[in-house]
């Protein structure tokens, strides 16, 4: 298999006149990293990988050896649809290895691979489909509040048109890069948009999310617009989430579907949901990894706050969408807390690990919470046994630190590094004196 793929890539580079091949990989915080090689290097790179110094990459540094090996995954080779037509470029995602050929423990793609293999050993393929929200703004100036493209409360034809054109162009680009789009629409908030990707296996999807974020930003930048996946850029309107639809397949069968259940959910689905709910607080630091993430997870903005599930209650953490005509293969659950600033490899990995733990330990699913939880008092919630998600990055880090599940899913290296890195982010934030404080205290105190 490998040899044919290599052949295919080499031929394509030659026939399409590709001048530069970009080797893509992802750091622990979920930023896309890239270095370029010439076609002459490619055959060697596909065979033996390319060595580079990982010490400057977030989460890659180690005390003894800083060199690592980028091994291109030939299956992900694609000609890039933008740039100079006379100097075509291509990209290929890489797995990061140690120099001795073993998987590098700091590589998020390897973390997801490892978790997917564990699920596969139990007989399951993990399929995911994210709904990704983002904002278009005028290019930001330091210290200034973001300016939406269609702000002002009146219908501005020119700028609305710009956003619509951008979205169309984005979708066209995504489709040429093998990323099928299911829906797209203008969201509730000014200048906010949502693009829903069609489900696929989690590794391909994590790659696709990385490509997606780049494409959205590139297309916007080409029109002088800034696209952002910041979870809560505007205080008064809803933030950007990345709801993730999840299902497990056993061969051709949707392991989440059961014809005889009132919810059409199989025991596997219920245990998986129970696992997600049970470990939700522990994985929140990964699915919501910025200080800003927690300003989205507040009541009143269609974001989940409580650890609960329901069929049609958008305040819950897990929603069970009603499928068209009870279509078995469309049966799935929707995990609503993640935001699009997460590292998709790590986020999918911990979601899977939490769900799989629910299956192996046969966790029992708590009853559906179908009333509006935002209207309940804390004591009422406590009576129902419903917790709230961690309220800040600091809270979620504290819960994560105690979690053997997250530690196992991420591996020691990333677990340690992530906690260290995010604690220092929290410390930096804690010392910041905000406009809120000036407005509220400066004159009266």
């Amino acid at each position: 298999m490998l040899e044919q793929q290599r052949d295919y890539v080499l031929h394509t580079v030659e026939e399409r006149g590709v001048r530069l091949i970009r080797l893509w990989f992802t750091d622990v915080l979920g930023s896309l990293k890239s270095f370029a090689i010439s076609p002459a290097e490619l055959e060697n790179a596909l065979e033996d990988g390319m060595t580079f110094d990982g010490s400057s990459i977030d989460g890659f540094g180690r005390t003894l050896e800083s060199d690592v090996l980028a091994m291109p995954d030939a299956n992900t080779f694609e000609v890039l649809p933008w740039g100079d037509a006379k100097a075509t470029e291509a990209r290929v995602f890489c797995d990061i290895h140690n120099l001795d050929g073993t998987p590098f423990e700091g590589d998020p793609r390897q973390v997801l691979r490892r978790n997917l293999q564990a699920a596969h050993a139990a007989g399951f393929t993990f399929l995911v489909a994210p709904d990704i929200e983002f904002f278009y703004f005028s290019p930001p100036e330091k210290g200034q509040a973001p300016v939406p493209l269609d702000e002002g409360g009146f219908f501005d034809l020119t700028t609305t048109d710009v956003a619509g054109t951008l979205r169309k162009q984005t979708i066209r680009t995504l489709e040429t890069m093998s990323i099928p789009v299911e829906y797209s629409f203008h969201e509730d908030a000014p200048s906010q948009h949502e693009i829903d990707l069609r489900h696929t296996d989690a590794l391909t999807m994590a790659d696709s999310v990385m490509t997606f974020r780049l494409v959205v930003k590139e297309v916007a930048a080409s029109q002088g617009v800034h696209a952002t996946f910041m979870p809560k850029p505007l205080e008064s309107v809803q933030g950007s989430g990345m709801h993730v639809h999840l299902s497990l397949f056993d061969g051709d069968e949707n392991a989440f579907y059961a014809a005889d259940d009132p919810y059409n959910l199989s025991p596997v689905a219920k245990h998986f949901m129970a696992g997600l709910l049970h470990h939700a607080a522990e994985i929140t630091a990964i699915t919501n990894q910025t200080v800003n993430s927690y300003k989205r997870l507040v009541p009143g903005f269609e974001a989940p706050v409580h650890v609960s599930w329901a069929r049609n209650n958008r305040s819950g953490l897990v929603r069970v969408p009603i499928t068209k005509r009870g279509n078995p293969s469309a049966t799935r659950i929707e995990f609503r807390s993640p935001d699009p600033a997460c590292n998709p490899y790590l986020a999918f990995a911990v979601m899977l690990a939490a769900g799989m733990r629910g299956i192996t330990e046969e966790y029992e699913l708590p009853p559906e919470a179908d009333s509006n939880l935002f209207e309940m008092s804390e004591s009422e919630l406590a009576k129902l046994g419903i917790d709230v998600l961690p309220q800040s990055l600091s809270d979620s880090l504290r819960v994560m630190e105690q979690s053997s599940l997250v530690q196992e899913a991420l591996g020691e290296h990333i677990f340690e590094w992530f906690l260290r890195n995010k604690r220092s982010e929290w410390r930096a934030y804690k010392t910041h004196v905000s406009a809120f404080e000036h407005d509220r205290y400066l004159r009266v105190l």
């Binding site: 040899e3 044919q4 031929h11 694609e78 393929t125 093998s178």
Partner: protein, 226 residues
């Protein structure tokens, strides 16, 4: 005898090993295609014998891997009568076959015949259908002369479909014939790739690949004109 045969799997069926030894062949059993590459003699393997009985999935994967190599290795397949249906749509993966349990003289006769006329491998270089052209040698696809940028698996799927126009394939068949058994993504993978291909073919050509409700997919028009 200078011919070097590669035999799959390792260990091979005992009666096969005996037949080859008695026939004076030089042969080497291997566990995988990678294994075959490691042990390959400088002049390349002359022929290959692949026994399908015990592990058909591994055997087909081996055939596929061997076929994609540059060397013109002639390939003899050993399979039981109950496996004959597996030959369908895999004509490109073997040169001849022999039913098990086999008669040693038959295996020898078929080997002699296979190795006799040297290595004239016939390849069809381009597949064309309604504006779509696939060059099998260079892996390039064009639509109305415009290059189509595909991933490797998208290309392989489109090639398979275009080589068999008008025929309806189930997801399972497509998965086993295009991906091979080593892939574990499940049949949903097929849907995902079909969806991607349609998007890349563009609006005018997207209906080249049709969904046949509750069966699978068909490329081009039905032979019956419906």
């Amino acid at each position: 005898m200078l011919d070097q045969l590669v035999v799959y799997p390792d260990p091979p069926p005992p009666d096969l090993a005996r037949t080859l030894d008695l026939g004076g062949y030089r042969w080497k059993a291997v566990r995988s295609a990678d294994d075959a590459a490691v042990h390959e003699p400088a002049a390349g393997w002359t022929g290959a014998i692949v026994a399908c009985d015990t592990d058909p999935e591994g055997a087909w994967a081996f055939c596929r891997a061997l076929r994609k190599r540059d060397g013109p290795t002639r390939l003899l397949l050993l399979l039981s009568g109950s496996q004959l249906d597996q030959l369908e749509l895999r004509d490109d993966l073997f040169d001849d076959f022999c039913l098990t349990p086999f008669h040693p003289v038959e295996v020898e006769a078929r080997l002699r015949h296979l190795l006799f006329e040297g290595f004239s491998q016939v390849k069809n270089e381009t597949v064309e259908y309604s504006g779509l052209a696939l060059n099998v040698d260079t892996y390039q696809a064009t639509i109305e002369g415009r290059p189509l940028d595909l991933t490797y698996m998208e290309y392989e799927l489109l090639k398979f479909l275009a080589q068999n126009p008008g025929k309806v394939f189930t997801r399972e068949i497509l998965l086993s014939r295009v991906w091979g058994y080593e892939y574990y993504g499940g049949a949903r993978t097929v849907d995902v790739h079909i969806r991607r291909l349609r998007a890349k073919l563009g609006e005018e050509q997207a209906n080249l690949i049709q969904t046949v409700r509750s069966v699978g997919y068909r490329f081009g028009q039905s032979r019956w004109g419906s």
